[in-house]
């Protein structure tokens, strides 16, 4: 089962569409609720990151009987120092984004904590790719 979504930078009203659809699908399949929760938290954070920082992006979710693999590819400024971005509390979000309740700087560590496998790859000036795998058991 493959699901894919397009995201526009700055479109906070639609942020959460992908995580919501993936959640619904996993729930209909009967995946354990605690696993779904981790998927939703990780994907929602990653999705909001694209909306908040990138110009546009795509999300794909590949559901197999034992796991879900999610890939977020964005076109955007990229991340210069990934290690720094992974530090809890560190944020480059603008004031505007923070006022909307996003950009507290917990994004990447939170994704990492909920994922079984987490990969991040970024080219400054081009964009970022995030891969999240969560096992069902």
């Amino acid at each position: 089962m493959n699901l894919s979504f397009q995201i526009q930078g700055g479109d906070f009203t639609s942020a959460g569409t992908a995580s919501s659809q993936v959640r619904r699908t996993l729930k209909e399949l009967g995946v354990d609720a605690s696993v779904i929760k981790r998927v939703v938290v990780a994907l929602y954070e990653a999705e909001v990151n694209v909306v908040a920082h990138a110009y546009r992006g795509t999300i794909s979710a590949e559901i197999s009987p034992d796991k879900v693999f999610m890939k977020l590819v964005d076109e955007g400024p990229g991340i210069t120092d990934i290690e720094k971005a992974m530090t809890p509390g560190f944020s480059t979000a603008s004031q505007e984004v923070r006022e909307m309740g996003f950009g507290a700087g917990m994004g990447l560590p939170n994704i990492c904590r909920n994922a079984d496998v987490f990969n991040i790859h970024s080219v400054p000036g081009k964009g970022t790719t995030v891969e999240i795998t969560i096992q069902f058991k």
Partner: protein, 441 residues
């Protein structure tokens, strides 16, 4: 939770009268758990999915859906016939039919004691606040008041089952209190009949089959609409009669109690961040957002299945907005605290804890994830071939539901009436629905 508990079937208070059902499909489209299908010209209920919310009852044009209540004559099996009356019952009547007049009529009908249900509510004010403050799980805590919401959560939002507040509702507290009073006074319990007038089907189901191993002291449930008619008829025929017993025992309920079944009845007494949400679509929308992890910082949720909460109950007569107005007026004239508050507290505090609510997730495709995934993929492929009109002419609530039914071998593609019609007369169908709709994706 053990397997026995999980497998215990739901008791249902709603039944479809086959001989009356015209198979019109209105009910199947409003069911929040998609528990209804039209088969052989009749609506059929999936008993494991029905939550007794009564949405189908509201839209049935021929009154084929009935509420399974107890006959009023059942009260005469008991020497002491206690009627627990929710405030809503009184608020249904026009102002000229006073509280005393209604009480007089009810005594004439054979009840020996009349009690207001929401006496037990005051006791919950501190208990709810304490419960939420001490709650160690993830918030918001969800109120256990509305039994249709409790069942909705068990079936559609099973991961929230452990957030349901484990305190019994005012109705059960009051029932326990009265049973205890009679027992204390040496009355044999087989002589005590406790009856409740219900505004909805869900409360009947909850009394007959409560959460966990709890046994309700309520012996019978009377349909509010039936009792309304009986009272109104007596009033029209005999007018207001004097009755020597014309007092409602412990009648002075508080303003908090009288408003408990209204929107905000619980949320307003909560001292943290609470929301009051009414009507099934609103409740579902909010729970979906909560499940999406989009909502943070709410401590307590008051969720009520009916629009305007119990004022909009399926068995409540008169307009729900007028009822709310009458309740508000009643509340203005009442004290803030119930006079029996302390006594209730002493007698009932041991009864308040409720057993945990067991999740009973719907198995949509298959318990085996591998098979479920295959079926889901197949259902998505079928959905692309279906017209996406959700006309329900196939007997399922939507094209999506038909696709799911097909992959679970409960229906076939032949059920799609629109595709048949398109094959028979493509020009006409395309003129209405457009060419694009019939191109298989």
């Amino acid at each position: 939770m053990n397997m026995d508990q999980q497998m215990k079937p739901f008791h249902h208070a709603l039944r479809i009268r086959k001989e009356i059902c015209i198979g019109c499909s209105r009910c199947i489209r409003v069911c929040p758990t998609e528990a209804l299908r039209v088969i052989d010209g009749k609506a059929k209920l999936h008993p494991e999915w029905c939550i007794d919310c009564g949405e189908c009852f509201k839209v049935c044009p021929v009154k084929a859906i009935v509420v399974e209540d107890d006959d009023i004559a059942k009260i005469f099996r008991y020497k002491h016939r206690i009627l627990l009356i929710p405030s809503i019952f009184f608020a249904q009547f026009e102002e000229k039919l006073t509280l005393d007049a209604i009480k007089g009529i009810l005594y004439d009908m054979g009840f020996t004691e009349l009690c207001t249900v929401e006496q037990g509510a005051d006791l919950l004010v501190d208990e709810i606040n304490r419960y939420v403050a001490e709650f160690e799980g993830e918030k918001p805590v969800i109120s256990s008041y509305c039994p249709a919401v409790v069942r909705l959560i068990q079936i559609r939002f099973p991961s929230f089952a452990d957030r349901i507040m484990r305190l019994i509702p005012p109705l059960e507290i009051t029932a326990q209190y009265y049973r205890n009073e009679y027992e204390k006074n040496g009355v044999p319990l087989e002589d005590v009949g406790i009856f409740y007038v219900t505004p909805c089907a869900a409360k009947i189901a909850a009394i007959k089959a409560p959460v966990g191993g709890y046994i309700s002291p309520i012996n019978g449930v009377i349909n509010m609409s039936e009792l309304y008619n009986k009272v109104f008829l007596a009033y029209k025929q005999k007018g207001i009669t004097e009755n020597e017993h014309c007092t409602l025992i412990h009648s002075s309920i508080s303003s908090v109690g009288v408003r408990w079944s209204m929107v905000g009845g619980e949320a307003d007494i909560f001292r943290g961040r609470a929301l009051a949400i009414d009507s099934m679509p609103n409740v579902i929308e909010f729970l979906e957002r909560l499940e999406n992890e989009e909502i943070k910082g709410i401590d307590f949720l008051e969720l009520r299945a009916c629009d305007m909460s119990c004022c909009g109950g399926i068995l409540v007569q008169d307009n729900r907005f007028l009822i709310k107005e009458r309740i508000d007026k009643m509340a203005e004239e009442l004290p803030e605290k119930h006079m029996l508050d302390q006594e209730f507290r002493n007698v009932c505090s041991g009864y308040i804890p409720m057993e945990p609510v067991e999740p009973r997730a719907m198995v949509k495709y298959h318990a085996d994830l591998k098979i479920a995934l295959q079926r889901m993929e197949e259902a998505r492929r079928l959905r692309d071939q279906l017209p996406d009109i959700d006309c329900s002419a196939c007997g399922a609530p939507s094209c999506e539901a038909l696709a799911d039914d097909i992959v679970c071998n409960r229906a076939t593609m032949k059920h799609c009436v629109i595709l048949h019609a398109h094959r028979a007369n493509p020009e006409m169908m395309e003129k209405i629905w457009g060419k694009k709709r019939f191109i298989k994706k």
